[in-house]
Symmetry: C2
Subunit: 401 residues, 2 copies
């Protein structure tokens, strides 16, 4: 492997001087946030999962998936979910505190796994690693998983493959939040698609996208900040486009990528959402469409995943592939920038730059989330870790950018 | 195989009574069109390719790909391309009149093929069939192709897999017509994605979508009919949204699925276009981005493809899979229809219904295209076939719907 490992890369980032900071979204309003060093946050979340009797190695994986979402600037999928997505469902037994999927069926190029209602964050990583192992032998492989739960950011799992020189595919269905093309109501998931492409030098190319125009988190944030949303993100309960996030969040639905109806390609987003449901839920014999739940619902989530890996080396040497990818990157960067655009971005680039910044100045965590950490740590008997965490935190306003 | 073969299905359609006709787009204005029986059209196009010394079996494949596009209601990719995409490039030697890709590298689960600048319509079918053969042995496989040319509708190739009980993936890059997210100018292809899903009863589920909001054919049609286009399909040379198809067609660019900028997810369409280029062009060592040409350009097309097949049977029996797919279909059809929508559609359903209709009442072909057929048949010495074709044609106005 000629690639830098992600972990060593992260260490490198800490010591290299940086000329500029970048965050895809800055904490707003800053006075409501703390900045916490990533390692402190990772330590706390690891102990959180260990408190549920999850083995240390699995707990560390779960923590890394969540903290990486925050590092990437995808806070909606990060540690702010700890209470609603993990503490409550694990406490109530809605999901089980383990990350041990069982292999139901297996061949040299494929596997069907049963997540046994465990923690999707860990199950996803193990399934992806199995796919990589098989692709290393056979060039290509796929692993489908049923009876799992929310696996965090789709890109985390695909990234594992890219770090090892494989093209990684990571798909998951999710609870219905989207109105399928030409329908009203929430009837299909935001069903994300992620594909990661290995590169010689970081960052890897990581495509990670909900198949809806926006994920639900964007609506939630607008609601909290009392901001209107762009026309085209969602519809109300009658199917009308609305700029009111409350109407989308409480009564309406998100729209598939391409928007309402078919005029601007909304049926393509609908197709992609359906495809993810077929490759994950239908193929694995697991949950799909209305049978998938959020951990917040109190019902067993029944989430299904699909992973695939392709060994680049089997077609061409990595060197040839990497060279061509660099040419492609340079080509994209050399294009004529749109006068209204901030920059021309390669998929995954914003996340990577945000990570570099947050490794230095810390991850922004909302004060209400910190408050939840405190409550949960009392229940779980890990108050000492909460104390350590809060000692390492700085008010976001005081952090120079 | 429990599935009906497509060919026998087509025969069935001819004899079954139909309660209603459906065409996704009707010929407009009708007085400018003829209706031609599909078999007559297929015969003419087969002889067309044979006149270039293509073996009969390959010529029949090429003809079927083009005629199927017309049957599916995707006229932009059908026989109206015969002159510009095949006659002229084949006559000038821009592409070669063969459909024989060479295997450069091969393993039990993968292959790299070189199209040797032949006819992509046939090369695509052969590559997909190779992928299916390998997936039958190993559960999953992929085939990448370089030095090919335009392969017609992406869905034709994916459909071959679905007809045999496999999930089929068919991707191809194409000449730059789209402005990558946050850029202006034509710099990346409309790079279509097709995935076909086998079903117990027809129609199979076929996703077939350009990764742009619309393919260039939609702009061309609006231009011909002197109609404005919806805001969001394309931009002018300065990157401004425009409703003038001429500004998009002659100077501007198409937009990626999701539209201009990132507000409504345009970066997701840009990601998908890039992904197709990576999996086809970069992985195969073939053309990508600016190195891909239209056959109309007079340059070697350098088109690259990616195919994959998954054997459904390896995870679950076909029966279980088919049962679940039917449940999914019923679920989608049972959703609450949007008050402004005509219908709730399953991917591929419109194409299939259009095919049923056109098998009965004929394929609409514009009179100017018929005129081109006449000219070409004179040059190729197949006037007698043109005469047969025209004898079978009926003015579209006279055909009852």
């Amino acid at each position: 492997m000629r690639m830098l490992k992600f972990s060593s890369l992260m260490n490198l980032c800490k010591v290299l001087p940086m000329t500029s900071y970048y965050e895809r979204k800055k904490p707003y309003p800053p006075e409501e946030y703390y900045r916490i060093p990533p390692n402190e946050l990772r330590k706390f979340v690891t102990e959180f999962f260990k408190a549920f009797k999850m083995p240390e190695s699995d707990a560390a994986i779960a923590a890394d998936v969540l903290v990486t979402a925050d590092l990437f600037g995808i806070e909606s999928h990060g540690v702010q979910r700890l209470k609603r997505y993990y503490f409550t469902p694990l406490s109530k037994g809605v999901i089980k505190p383990h990350g041990n999927p069982v292999i139901v069926k297996e061949g040299s190029t494929y596997a069907l796994m049963d997540g046994k209602n465990g923690v999707g964050l860990v199950i996803g990583v193990k399934a992806m690693k199995l796919a990589i192992k098989k692709a290393k032998e056979k060039g290509i492989s796929f692993v489908v998983v049923r009876n799992s739960s929310h696996y965090g950011i789709a890109g985390y799992h695909a990234k594992i493959a890219a770090e090892k020189g494989f093209i990684g595919v990571s798909l998951s269905n999710s609870q219905p939040l989207v109105a399928y093309t030409n329908t009203i109501g929430r009837n299909i998931g935001t069903n994300p698609i992620s594909v990661a492409i290995p590169t010689k030098n970081p960052p890897p190319i990581i495509i990670d996208m909900a198949t809806s125009v926006v994920p639900i988190g964007r609506i939630e944030v607008s609601l909290r900040l009392r901001r209107s949303i762009p026309l085209g993100w969602g519809i109300d309960k009658e199917g009308k486009l609305t700029q009111d996030p409350a109407k989308v969040f409480y009564e309406g639905a998100l729209l598939p990528l391409g928007g309402l109806g078919e005029e601007l390609g909304g049926h393509k987003g609908g197709c992609l959402a359906l495809l993810v449901d077929i490759l994950s839920g239908i193929l694995s014999g697991g949950g799909w469409g209305p049978y998938v739940s959020s951990p917040v619902s109190g019902r067993q989530p029944n989430v299904s995943h699909f992973f695939a890996a392709i060994d680049v080396d089997i077609i061409e040497t990595h060197n040839e592939f990497y060279e061509r990818i660099e040419k492609l990157r340079k080509y994209i960067k050399s294009l004529r920038k749109h006068p209204q655009a901030d920059n021309i971005w390669i998929p995954g680039e914003k996340a990577w730059l945000t990570m570099q910044t947050r490794l230095r100045i810390g991850i922004p965590v909302h004060k209400s989330v910190i408050e939840e950490f405190k409550e949960m740590s009392l229940v779980l008997g890990i108050e000492h870790l909460y104390e350590e965490l809060i000692k390492s935190a700085k008010p976001a306003e005081e952090v120079q950018m």
